[in-house]
Symmetry: C2
Subunit: 196 residues, 2 copies
């Protein structure tokens, strides 16, 4: 579904899978992911790079209509519950931040961000929308997970539905152009002494 008002405004051309990606809240409450799509999303995450190939990312995949989906939905912040109930699939993303011997993995959270980014790119390929949420009851989600993994975000995945009814403030965000800091603001100088 083309959403030209959401396409990134860039100084040079960006690949459409990156330029066209955004995080909608209006999702089709009847849409379901195929098994192949779920596998493709997980494969994308699986083949992401990580520090010493540690692959610290973990995923709990739940589908609308199951007790697991309902439990995850129920632990979301209210502002997310009001639209994320329509997500075909809610995925709890967690990280193994320590080895089973208790050694810290300093890049576990960073690497899990990368894996989800790869998943999101594949979602674009599949015609699926991904909206990441940090607003949830971390203790409640953690209690659902096995020991040793820390929940980081919940992904709402589904098919965008521009006719979905949203509260006014969210409908406004859905219609607004995306915005970012200027390119210059992302760049920092290195204070290297100059030769004299």
């Amino acid at each position: 579904m083309s959403t030209p008002h959401k396409t990134a405004a860039t100084a040079v051309p960006l690949h459409p899978l990156l330029a066209g990606r955004w995080s909608p809240r209006g999702l089709d409450p009847r849409h379901e992911l195929t098994d192949e799509q779920v596998t493709a999303l997980l494969e994308a995450a699986r083949w992401a790079p990580s520090a010493s190939n540690t692959q610290p990312w973990r995923f709990a995949v739940t589908h609308r209509g199951t007790p697991e989906h309902a439990a995850v939905l129920d632990a979301l912040a209210g502002g997310n519950r009001i639209w994320a109930h329509a997500a075909s699939t809610l995925v709890v993303v967690a990280a193994e931040t320590h080895t089973s011997e208790g050694k810290e993995r300093p890049w576990a959270v960073y690497d899990t961000g990368q894996a989800v980014a790869h998943l999101s790119v594949q979602a674009e390929v599949e015609g699926l929308a991904v909206h990441q949420m940090g607003g949830f009851d971390s203790g409640r989600i953690a209690a659902l997970l096995p020991d040793g993994v820390i929940p980081l975000v919940v992904l709402a995945i589904g098919r965008r539905d521009e006719t979905a009814e949203l509260p006014e403030v969210l409908a406004g965000r859905e219609a607004a152009a995306r915005d970012r800091l200027p390119l210059e603001a992302l760049q920092v100088p290195l204070g290297v002494p100059t030769a004299v």
Copy 2:
């Protein structure tokens, strides 16, 4: 440059930009990035998603032949220096983990991982290789950066050169197939009580 022995082995088709990406060490010591390529990589990072659109990622871009590139190279772990000197561009990736008022940004590291993943996908589009390194003297790199940003990784970016000479152990890794945990190992169950 096609590297079929490095293509991800997946249960279902993955987009080639994801399936074909890997992290080479053999880089062409004469290659240089164009300004447009640098801009495209930063634009890719810029348009990544982040918690409440905080955009905590920061980049210090250095080019081979400059004091900044030399300073970053010098702070790398020895096992990285022996090949990363050939990188056209070394990029220090850092995160603003706190606001200027000292408030923590809990997703800053996670989001910066996402931004680098987006950058890496655009690098594939540009025919460039990215190899992320966590092995560097964090204190020395931090001392080069402005206050308030934490260095996370250094990116070696360039053009792959399969004729580049590498120490035997690294040449072996360069030739080896990529491997990952099985798909099942990434998935964790949710312990939701079943109705009785």
